[in-house]
């Protein structure tokens, strides 16, 4: 079908088809890739809750219903201080994966009613249980039994603890994914790193303040709330005021916090649990997830650590992907019977900082066989340093800075120390990297009652130190003798050449230490135990890119090969076609036409032929289309219509038959930095033909450049370049020589010589096609002539025919008026026309001498009688017309 179209049109059709295919491909790609659709329903669900399940609390909910139902459901809970809107993007993601997702604003927040009870089993957990009831009645939700929807609970921080507590309280929950959450809220807020109970813990004051502030917000609620308590329930607010004021936890406060903790109820959880904990988390460090993992005894548990957390956000892009992947895999398996997740614990280590994305960059590791805990076997790094006396500042000020809650330490750790308040103990320079993954331990002696903070620094060769994990481990010395301090879990690599530094501090800005000034002597009595798990680096989930790269490479290579092959086949077919009747004719031009893109018609239908032995002149003024015709003849320009046959082969770009043509078109073209000789040699080398067929010496004789052939071409005059170009055209003695204005720039003797050369060249079956705008040149050089004007053929034929004796003469006379009637009366004359100063007379059979004698005898003086030549007539006429 394409064959019937003109070539140009055919190209456009092909291009259009390619574009359409691309567009269609992209469309399909987006259709396949775009998450499946879902609809969103906002409604307020009023649940009966409280200790007696009788208090109505309106909850602001959003239900995301996927296109295909019934489907398993996911309860997606938000973090402290957030609303259902904070988890909207995760909800859409899960809905896109085909889950019915229910998000709601927890009571005490946003537009929901009720108060903040800190995930109390009587309140928030019951709320969630009621929502499970509600899901159980929705037709869109798949059911395991009456009132038992297929449902998972997913959430981070506040929402994560809710998921754990809900699974413990409500057996209908089929899977949970609690993220960055706590095990025991009392211990998380009053950490103590030597194993003492939370009553001896040190208040994480900065975090507690930040969290409490989150619960104070909400407009329009202040009126019904106790001033300063915001929407907190009275018992929670009272607890906060007590612990914040004293800095110590009372048993009552701890009991309240324990009620809000999964710790006591973990053994009741039967839902498969994926615990995701952050490595950049000073609020709920790895130990919280560790305790949860150990506490859940009746359900499968998988643990993953990622580079984010309450300080680090979503962490690195790779970790974000990994957590999403693990969550989806967990839900798919336990809610839909998808592929079982590998029994592997995964974690990541920060390896750098992505300046462009402003996130950390991590590498992920996988440990087969599941979670190894925080105290895996590792190495012990000796620490040295004398016992040091350090001061506890009054009221904990000034204090060292370990981390600012929630500010993150992705780029640079903000850690500072206060001189005189920190004791440092350092390892030697590491001769090999030391990997840390877990909670390091060290034994320290200090006076009983002292509250101290242990931290780990990585000291570089240049002395710069970095606080590892942004963490500080508070401990209270309970008895005389060594105290074992367990630092928070971290993942880090100390490079060789670096040193590990343990710092023991008396005050930390994020914690509430004792207010009385004191001085302690601190000593380290053991090495630092550094646990390490042997993980294998993970390439997934970015591994897809390797395949994409591989496939793309293969496709590109195949496309190139295919293009080469088809081009070769097409070329061969085209090149072997030969028009037999012209097989021995050097050049046949038929109906040649060229219209440029801007509409300019350079050549409009030209026909001419060059036979063997002819020197054909292509004559025409500038702009007649001579050069365009020659360019088409060489395959440089594609004709709009018509064709050119060289020895019967159709000329196309790069047609092999062009190797039988030598050419000079529109001036010479040489590499200016090479000598004339090198130019000719390299040119011949580029033809790939045997060097001995070049006839280099002969053409150099013709060029007659003497020693100049050894000079760079850029030093040549125009005439020298022109002669070199003619020589280049004659290399290999081509059967058809095409020369465009060859005498341009030559001086008269050289022009005469060139004439002889060309005439000689055409004597043995070779042919020459010369273009020129000079009549005399064509007349003296050529056997045949083709006259062009404005792209059109004006005349063509043997020069002798066109120039030869012409029957018309120009007669200049002394008396025009007398002469005219006389001439018209003469017989043997075809026509008479006035020209300036005389007449152009076309003689039929009257000899010129009779014409003259007739005029003279009539008394008309004859000044001159000149034969008029047709070629000149034609040429002048077209020049005149061109000017008018």
């Amino acid at each position: 079908m394409l064959r019937v179209l003109p070539r140009r049109r055919r190209d456009q059709v092909v291009a259009a088809v390619v574009v359409l295919l691309l567009a269609a491909g992209l469309g399909v790609w987006f259709a396949v890739r775009a998450p499946a659709g879902y609809r969103v329903e906002n409604r307020v669900i009023t649940v009966r809750t409280g200790p007696h399940r009788d208090r109505p609390v309106p909850l602001d909910t959003t239900l995301y219903v996927p296109d295909t139902t019934p489907a398993p459901a996911v309860l997606l809970a938000h973090g402290f201080g957030g609303t259902k809107a904070s988890v909207a993007s995760d909800a859409k993601d899960l809905a896109g994966r085909g889950y019915v997702v229910l998000t709601w604003t927890a009571e005490g927040f946003g537009r929901s009613g009720g108060q903040i009870h800190l995930n109390s089993p009587d309140w928030e957990v019951t709320d969630a249980s009621r929502l499970v009831d509600w899901l159980g009645h929705r037709p869109e939700v798949r059911r395991d039994g009456a009132d038992d929807p297929r449902v998972a609970a997913v959430g981070g921080s506040y929402g994560g603890a809710l998921a754990l507590l809900l699974a413990a309280q409500d057996r209908r929950v089929d899977a949970i994914v609690p993220q960055i959450t706590w095990n025991d809220l009392g211990r998380a807020l009053f950490p103590e790193s030597s194993g003492a109970p939370a009553t001896d813990g040190v208040l994480k004051r900065a975090w507690l303040g930040a969290l409490f502030a989150d619960g104070l917000g909400g407009s329009g609620t202040a009126a019904r709330a106790v001033p300063g308590c915001g929407r907190f329930a009275a018992d929670v607010c009272a607890m906060y005021r007590q612990v914040a004021a004293s800095g110590r936890a009372t048993p009552a406060a701890l009991a309240l916090l324990r009620r809000s903790s999964p710790a006591p109820v973990l053994s009741r959880i039967h839902a498969p649990t994926l615990l995701v904990q952050g490595l950049a988390d000073t609020l709920f460090p790895l130990s919280e997830a560790d305790a949860n993992a150990r506490g859940i005894t009746h359900a499968p548990v998988q643990v993953a650590w990622f580079s984010g957390g309450h300080d680090g956000g979503t962490g690195s892009a790779a970790d974000h992907d990994r957590v999403r992947f693990l969550t989806a895999q967990w839900l798919d398996h336990y809610l839909r019977g998808g592929a079982a997740p590998a029994d592997a614990f995964t974690y990541s280590r920060i390896i750098g900082y992505d300046r462009y994305d402003a996130t950390v960059r991590t590498t992920a590791f996988s440990v087969r066989g599941g979670y190894p805990g925080l105290t895996a076997a590792g190495t012990t790094v000796p620490l040295s340093g004398p016992p040091q006396r350090i001061a506890n500042p009054p009221d904990g000020t000034p204090a060292a800075v370990s981390t600012l809650p929630g500010a993150g330490f992705a780029g640079v750790s903000p850690a500072t120390e206060v001189p005189g308040q920190a004791a440092g103990f350092q390892s030697g320079t590491l001769d090999r990297p030391v990997d840390l993954s877990g909670a390091p331990r060290v034994r320290v002696t200090a006076p009983v009652g002292a509250v101290l903070f242990a931290k780990l620094y990585d000291v570089g060769p240049d002395g710069r130190q970095t606080l590892v994990g942004g963490q500080a481990a508070p401990f209270r010395v309970a008895r005389a003798g060594p105290t074992t301090v367990t630092l928070p879990g971290m993942v880090y690599r100390f490079q060789s050449g670096h040193r590990i530094r343990l710092v023991v501090d008396t005050a930390d800005q994020a914690y509430a230490g004792p207010r009385e000034p004191a001085t302690y002597t601190v000593a380290v009595v053991s090495g630092l135990t550094v646990p390490a798990v042997a993980g294998t680096p993970l390439t997934d989930p970015a591994g897809i890119w390797y395949w994409v790269l591989l496939v793309a490479t293969v496709v590109v290579v195949l496309a190139v090969v295919a293009a080469l092959l088809t081009a070769r086949v097409r070329r061969r077919r085209r090149q072997r076609a030969v028009v037999a009747e012209h097989a021995d004719t050097p050049l046949v031009v038929a109906g040649l036409r060229k219209t440029y893109k801007d509409g300019f018609v350079a050549v409009r239908g030209t026909d001419f032929t060059v036979h063997r032995g002819q020197v054909v002149g292509l004559l025409g003024p500038n702009g007649a289309g001579k050069t365009t015709s020659l360019r088409m003849l060489l395959g440089l320009i594609r004709p709009t219509a018509g064709e050119i046959l060289v020895f019967g082969h159709r000329v196309t770009a790069g047609a092999p038959v062009l190797s039988r043509i030598g050419s000079l078109v529109e001036g010479p073209g040489f590499l200016p930095h090479l000598t004339g000789l090198d130019n000719l040699r390299l040119y011949w080398r580029a033809t790939g033909r045997p060097a001995d067929t070049a006839g280099l010496d002969e053409v150099l004789d013709i060029a007659d450049l003497g020693d100049a052939v050894h000079r760079p071409v850029r030093t040549y005059s125009h005439g020298m370049k022109q002669r070199l170009a003619i020589a280049q055209a004659m290399l290999g003695l081509p059967e058809l020589l095409v020369l465009d204005e060859p005498t341009d720039g030559l001086d008269p003797p050289q022009i005469a010589e060139m004439r002889r050369v060309l005439q000689r060249y055409a004597t043995d079956g070779r042919s020459v096609l010369v273009s020129s705008h000079l009549l005399a040149e064509v007349e003296q050089t050529c056997t045949h002539v083709v006259v062009m004007r404005r792209g059109e053929l004006v005349a063509s034929g043997p020069v002798a025919d066109i120039i030869g004796d012409s029957p018309s003469v120009l007669v200049s006379v002394s008396d025009v008026d007398t002469a005219e009637p006389l001439l018209r009366k003469l017989s043997g004359i075809s026509s008479v026309a006035r020209a300036d100063g005389g007449f152009v007379v076309e003689l039929a059979d009257l000899p010129r001498r009779d014409l003259v004698s007739a005029l003279v005898s009539a008394g008309v003086g004859v000044d001159r009688v000149v034969p008029r030549r047709r070629l000149e007539d034609a040429f002048l006429a077209l020049l005149e017309r061109g000017e008018s």
Binding site: V646, G688, R760
Partner: protein, 294 residues
């Protein structure tokens, strides 16, 4: 002039001894380009650059080490810590601009300069098939680019060894890679750079077949590269930036971490490959249909 014309015996009507596949051989094109002063100057400069850098380190004021704790300062300090670091530093400072210019020069000037000299039409009239002309030109352009890259790396390695000794490679993340392994890493960096520079090569080549102005082709390619780099700094563009041809240009630094991070480089290589394929396809499409009027 007395020899009779060869009797035509070839199927495709070509002159005796002519074979399309023998025209403009790679070796010929290498010679044509090597004789150019431009080629010699560029390669010479790349040999000189590590020496200049060394002299700058050697005679420049040492500065105050504590005041150079920022990123660039750290880099400068590390550059002196051994041959490997010196080489990485040399590549780092060259990759984003100098090498782009060099590659754009080798690949962007190659066709356009022939057009401006007028020699292109004579090559096409030989005839060198257009596709073959492009193929050989591109291959030789890429070859010179590769030589430039390897030359710079090799000389930097030699100068670095002579000046700072053969020490482990210290990386920005604080890792220390044994010198022998570091050679492999550096080879990887060079390989990745070579792949990403294919974009510059492809773009320059495309411009080269579209214009007769050699400088225009080179400058245009470099300009578009700079624009892409600038857009890449605009974080507001978000993930759209990943579509920019220069987005993964610095992903080779992932080779200098422990362990090596491959994913960004895989994406970078993919992006470079696709861009290069698109640019080169357009170059071929354009040139095979072009009316050569130069």
């Amino acid at each position: 002039m007395t020899a009779t014309p060869a009797v035509e015996s070839t199927v495709d009507g070509s002159a005796t001894g002519y074979r399309a596949a023998a025209t403009l051989r790679v070796g010929t094109e290498i010679r044509r380009q090597l004789t150019r002063r431009r080629t010699q100057l560029v390669l010479g400069f790349l040999v000189l650059l590590p020496v200049i850098l060394f002299l700058a380190f050697r005679f420049g004021s040492d500065g105050n080490d504590t005041s150079t704790q920022d990123q660039s300062g750290g880099f400068v300090t590390m550059a002196k810590s051994g041959a490997a670091n010196f080489t990485v530093f040399t590549l780092f400072v060259s990759a984003s601009f100098l090498l782009v210019v060099v590659v754009a020069l080798f690949c962007g000037d190659t066709v356009a300069s022939e057009a401006s000299w007028g020699s292109l039409r004579y090559l096409l009239a030989v005839p060198v098939p257009r596709s073959r002309l492009l193929g050989v030109k591109l291959l030789v352009g890429l070859l010179y680019s590769a030589v430039a890259l390897v030359l710079l790396t090799g000389v930097a390695m030699l100068v670095g060894t002579a000046a700072f000794g053969w020490h482990p490679l210290r990386t920005m993340t604080g890792d220390s890679i044994p010198a022998d392994a570091a050679v492999l890493r550096i080879a990887g960096v060079v390989g990745y750079l070579a792949v990403t520079l294919l974009v510059a090569a492809g773009l320059a080549f495309l411009l080269s077949v579209c214009t007769d102005a050699a400088l225009g082709a080179v400058g245009g390619a470099v300009l578009l590269f700079i624009v892409s780099s600038i857009l890449d700094q605009v974080t507001a563009l978000g993930s759209l930036r990943a579509l920019l041809p220069t987005h993964y240009q610095t992903a080779y630094t992932d080779l200098l971490t422990e362990p090596v991070q491959w994913d960004q480089m895989a994406r970078g290589a993919l992006s470079a490959l696709l861009y290069a394929a698109v640019f080169l396809s357009l170059a071929w499409y354009r040139f095979l249909r072009k009316d050569v009027t130069s």
